[in-house]
């Protein structure tokens, strides 16, 4: 089965939900849905992380099928809004960051 190699990072406290890991390397299945052949996109990555890597309190990561309010997703150092958000199709070598907005000061 072909895969897509990613670097995934967590910041702003989200690392605490992922066993205090700030950076992980992943080989994600290149097809989100083997029967229909939908390529792996950011929506799929979010769900894959929730099912396979999240260690606690999923409600602090996912809400209504996407990341919860207050989380920003960065695709290769660009706001995911400029890249198609959940629809962005992942490519080998992509660097995806999940960051929780901070309020402290």
């Amino acid at each position: 089965m072909s895969t897509v190699s990613l670097k995934v990072e967590f910041s702003g406290g989200l690392e605490l939900l992922f066993n205090n890991q700030r950076q992980i390397k992943l080989d994600l299945p290149a097809q989100a849905d083997a029967s229909e052949g939908r390529p792996a996109d950011v929506r799929y990555l979010i769900h894959w992380l929730k099912d396979n890597r999240l260690k606690e309190r999923p409600e602090l990561f996912v809400e209504n099928g996407t990341v919860r309010p207050g989380i920003l997703v960065l695709i290769n150092d660009t706001d995911w809004e400029l890249e198609g958000e959940e629809e962005y199709v992942l490519e080998n070598g992509d660097d995806i960051v999940f960051i929780s907005t901070l309020h402290g000061g």
């Binding site: 309010p69 207050g70 660009t78 907005t101 000061g105």
Partner: protein
């Protein structure tokens, strides 16, 4: 009516005056500018000292809080002997000691929907050095209503974030975060801790951002800087979205001033923070 540099100013600001692209014009822009720093805590202290040292003509400081012992680990304008005093007063003494020529205006109150436009309308640039989500939304909405750039810093544990909102066609805070995070996900420095130089770095960079905007050195591109003291690379610059046409604050049908009157910011953000400082 613009003030010119005095004779002593050429010596005091000499190291800035000779910078390429800054010069005498840049310094006169700072001298004639006003910046309001909302929050005189871990972010506000370093921001205030570098704004004052650089010669910003008028500085406003908004904070209702008094100095406590647990502040001193990071709020470097305050002294052991000032515990219990108002932060705004102690901050003014500290920055006027650096630069006696400064005009400093104090607002020893919490910023809320009833006073934010009155307090902030007289300033060119606003600095968000606050420590809670409701005030961050209120400040952003006020910056949009008044049409002013908002240099926003935040820090927690080993991490920091910096972005300038409402600059040119860049986004406002609500463009990025239309819905607040659940209360359970919002850490505070009281609950989660903070390292002094982490918040110090972000506050210092807020002063830099304001100086760049005022002196004409800012490129206007909307960028989020994220910092973590424990990773390599420790800093990343993120290219941000433009203003969102459907933003309830700054979009085409944005409500602007009405939004502020109609919002209960504390309820919107999930209710009051527990007050750990008093426990």
């Amino acid at each position: 009516m613009s003030t010119k540099l005095a004779k002593d100013d050429f010596r005091r600001y000499g190291r800035q005056l000779i910078l390429p692209g800054f010069g005498r014009t840049g310094q006169e822009k700072l001298l004639n500018a006003s910046v309001c720093v909302v929050g005189a805590g871990g972010l506000g202290c370093p921001a205030l000292q570098y704004l004052a040292a650089a010669g910003i003509g008028r500085i406003g400081i908004v904070d209702h809080d008094t100095i406590s012992l647990s502040n001193l680990q990071r709020q470097i304008l305050y002294r052991d002997t000032q515990i219990g005093e108002l932060k705004v007063e102690a901050a003014r003494s500290a920055i006027q000691a650096i630069n006696a020529g400064l005009k400093v205006d104090l607002y020893p109150c919490a910023l809320d929907a009833s006073n934010s436009q009155d307090i902030l309308s007289g300033y060119d640039i606003l600095l968000d050095c606050t420590d809670n989500a409701p005030t961050r939304y209120l400040l952003s909405d006020t910056a949009v209503a008044l049409g002013k750039p908002l240099v926003s810093g935040a820090a927690l544990r080993f991490d920091g974030q910096l972005a300038t909102y409402n600059l040119g066609d860049g986004p406002c805070y609500r463009c990025l975060y239309p819905k607040p995070a659940a209360r359970a996900t919002m850490g505070s420095c009281e609950e989660n801790g903070i390292l002094g130089p982490v918040v110090g770095t972000i506050g210092t960079l807020q002063a830099l951002e304001a100086i760049k905007i005022l002196s004409g050195l800012h490129d206007g591109a909307p960028t989020l800087l994220i910092f973590s003291a424990l990773t390599v690379p420790s800093f990343r610059s993120i290219k941000l979205r433009r203003r969102k046409p459907d933003c309830v604050a700054c979009g085409q049908n944005g409500k602007r001033r009405d939004l502020i009157d109609q919002s209960d910011y504390v309820a919107f953000c999930g209710g009051e923070n527990p007050d750990y400082e008093r426990l």
